[in-house]
């Protein structure tokens, strides 16, 4: 361990021309902890593919209710659909949940709760609603991704 510290000090001295000070070490440790925290939150986020297929016709609906993706199915112009994601907090600490959508589909989909605090043991449903406007192109597939980030609040956010 001492040798490792020595190597780090030597490397630091080579790079900067002076040995690392205590506040340097504290700053680097804090940076590493923050990096690991962000890395974990990103890794732990739920990532879903989301798509909808716009079809020709009046009041035509094609459904795919399977849970592999946020698949809104085949929808004609003027139709709408809602899919839900069920989020449960089984931990002892509250979580701040943030929902982010990207891609072409992101512009068509609205989310009823973009961010909220989920208390310990609580459960919440997030609704994703899509409406196919008259301007949508027939036979095109609008794709996107939905990310659900869960960040431990440690009681800091209420």
């Amino acid at each position: 361990m001492t040798e490792t510290k020595g190597k780090f000090s030597n490397w630091w001295e080579k790079q900067t021309g002076a040995p690392p000070k205590t506040w340097h070490k504290i700053l680097i440790t804090v940076f590493l902890l923050v990096f690991l925290f962000v890395f974990y939150v990103t890794l732990d986020a739920n990532k879903y593919k989301a798509f909808v297929h716009v079809v020709d016709g009046k009041s035509v609906i094609g459904v795919n209710p399977t849970s592999e993706a946020l698949d809104f199915g085949d929808l004609a112009k003027g139709t709408s659909a809602v899919r839900r994601v069920d989020i449960k907090n089984g931990t002892a600490i509250p979580m701040w949940v943030s929902v982010i959508k990207t891609g072409d589909l992101g512009e068509l989909v609205s989310v009823d709760k973009k961010s909220f605090v989920l208390k310990s043991g609580d459960e919440e449903k997030v609704e994703f609603s899509i409406y196919i406007p008259a301007s949508a192109s027939i036979d095109s597939i609008y794709k996107g991704r939905v990310y659900v980030f869960k960040v431990p609040t440690f009681g800091l956010i209420k």
Binding site: F51, I61, N64, L75, K150
Partner: protein, 235 residues
């Protein structure tokens, strides 16, 4: 030699920590987010235009498996069961307005100036029937006649789409349903024809004709109803 020992120790530590991390992930950081099987779909508006009491008008919508569900490699789910629910229709079709119309009701149902009607249409749902297509014979869907209580779950039409049966067999499958939505136009209190009761009973023998007369004040108003296809089960 020292390097080999250090590397071996690092590998062993990683191997030992991995199951601990997995346990931590599974039990301690136990926050789950799952996509529900449920799906709610709202067909495009069916417009009946200007209608007259005791007219009987037909419209329809078509529901099928989507292209992605119909692909050969989708073998996990073969049957989708759904219900067709009826809900108050907002004048501005946004999720917020929809929720508001569903959660509220007019204080005076017969008063066209009731604040509820500023945001939601007077309710047409009781007068809409949902008739299944009857295929495959003898039919696996359950319809609803007009003149019913739209809030009663027994008034929800029930449908079933079948891609393949429990043996993976596609013979007798039912990949699409066409629902006929009929409007049996009601009359207004004090202005009903003598054969109003016969008209009601011809479409729904169990209905009480007196319950389905509309208040006079709503004459000339535009009525509406949202039909929602809600997937209830997949297997």
């Amino acid at each position: 030699m020292k390097k080999i020992l250090i590397v071996s120790a690092a590998i062993l530590t990683s191997v030992a920590v991995m199951p601990l991390f997995a346990a931590f992930e599974a039990h301690v950081i136990n926050v789950t987010a799952e996509i529900e099987n449920a799906l709610f779909v709202h067909p495009e508006s069916l417009r009946f235009g200007t209608v007259f009491p005791q007219e009987y008008l037909k419209s329809s919508f078509f529901i099928a498996f989507s292209e992605s569900f119909s692909r050969d490699d989708q073998r996990r789910v073969g049957t989708v069961e759904y219900v067709i629910k009826q809900k108050p229709k907002p004048r501005e079709d946004t999720p917020e307005e929809r929720t508001w119309c569903h959660d509220n009701e007019p204080e005076n149902i017969g008063d066209p100036n009731d604040p509820y009607y500023d945001r939601c249409y007077p309710l047409l749902c009781a007068y809409l029937s949902k008739e299944p297509d009857g295929t495959p014979e003898p039919g696996n869907d359950t319809g609803v006649p007009p003149f019913h209580d739209p809030n009663d779950p027994s008034s929800w039409a029930i449908g079933k789409l079948v891609k393949f049966d429990e043996n993976g067999n596609t013979i007798g499958n039912d990949p699409a349903d066409t629902w006929t939505v009929d409007l049996a136009v009601p009359c207004f209190e004090g202005h009903c024809a003598q054969d109003w009761a016969d008209f009601v009973h011809s479409h729904n023998p169990d209905a009480d004709p007196n319950l389905y007369k509309l208040p006079n004040g709503l004459e000339h108003e535009v009525f509406g109803c949202d039909l929602w296809v809600e997937v209830t089960s997949i297997h």
